[in-house]
């Protein structure tokens, strides 16, 4: 199965309801497929975290598989320090993780973003 994460913007209370929903379904014995979500409090925060540069970084990293930050920087032709900052930020929100041998990787096959213009 493809590993999928959904990204969106939402308020703290509404987004927490999904946890309750999944809990209840699981408690009633329903078989539940793993679900992963990433929410931002507002669009500014989302766009600040997911810049075009970082999106390109994610794509390259996903295509190349686990690699070191240095080889990723070489691949992108960018400065190590900036790539490092980007990786740290993407790691923080869970779009990048570490392998056991200290390399970085993208644990996702699909990143689905949902943005609403009106509620």
């Amino acid at each position: 199965m493809k590993k999928q994460i959904k990204i969106g913007v939402g308020d703290a209370t509404t987004t927490a309801k999904e946890f309750i929903d999944i809990w209840k379904r699981a408690e009633s014995g329903e078989k539940i497929e793993e679900k992963q979500h990433l929410y931002f409090e507002n669009l500014e925060m989302l766009l600040k975290t997911l810049t075009t540069g970082r999106w390109a970084l994610l794509k390259i990293l996903r295509e190349n598989g686990p690699m070191s930050i240095r080889s990723l920087a070489n691949e992108l032709g960018r400065d190590y320090k900036n790539v490092h900052t980007d990786v740290r930020n993407l790691e923080y929100v869970g779009l990048i993780d570490h392998t056991d041998d200290g390399k970085i990787r993208v644990p996702w096959d699909v990143v689905e973003a949902k943005l609403m213009l009106a509620a």
Binding site: T15, F19, V93, D97
Partner: protein, 199 residues
């Protein structure tokens, strides 16, 4: 000039990443990587041994579920009950420590919520393979709220052996679980209070 290092580094040593991993990245708490598989493997091995035993003894095979569950540190002695066969078939299987409380758990939900100041809320839910008295709902959860630098402010979880409990700014308290709505509401209220500087 021999013996003097050519380059004296004056800047602080920069680590590849900070010592405190960002938000428990990669941390599995008390569910270390591969542990669940170890338990299953151990159980399967016992199951196979029991089946083998019954086969050798010519006892009708028991259903897999009726095979006793094993835990860490258990030494399972498998030997013949019939005297005349006693020496022919007897061995002991040791189950290593470290897998005692780790039943199989399956991640079913993980949500990260990023506040505009960079603090993070995480809500994670696992489905367990068995019901236990402290987790009759067969679910394991972790609700976390922390700052961007990795400081944990609020955490609710129901780790095995400890029951439902909360950590607020490093202080641990037991939590009386009623239902999931209350749990989430209490958690959100703690976050709100923390964000307003009330905790």
């Amino acid at each position: 000039m021999k013996g003097i290092p050519r380059k004296i580094c004056l800047r602080p040593h920069r680590l590849a990443r900070s010592r405190t991993p960002a938000f428990h990245a990669g941390s599995r708490g008390s569910n270390p990587l591969g542990d669940a598989n170890k338990t299953i493997k151990a159980q399967q091995t016992t199951a196979e041994l029991f089946l083998l035993r019954y086969k050798l003894l010519d006892i009708p095979t028991l259903h897999r579920d009726s095979i006793p569950r094993i835990g860490a540190g258990d030494a399972i002695k498998i030997s013949k009950t019939r005297r005349n066969l006693n020496r022919a078939f007897s061995f002991t299987l040791y189950i290593p420590y470290g897998i005692k409380h780790h039943m199989k758990s399956k991640l079913i939900y993980r949500e990260k919520f990023i506040y505009s100041d960079g603090s993070i809320r995480e809500m994670v839910l696992w489905q367990l393979s068995e019901k236990t008295p402290d987790r009759p709902h067969q679910l394991k959860y972790r609700l976390y709220y922390g700052l961007k630098d990795g400081t944990c402010i609020v955490r609710y979880d129901n780790e095995t052996g400890k029951g439902d409990h909360i950590h607020i700014k490093g202080i641990e308290k037991t939590y009386r679980f009623t239902d999931v709505e209350t749990l989430v509401a209490d958690f959100l209220e703690d976050i709100e209070n923390a964000r307003r500087g009330k905790i």
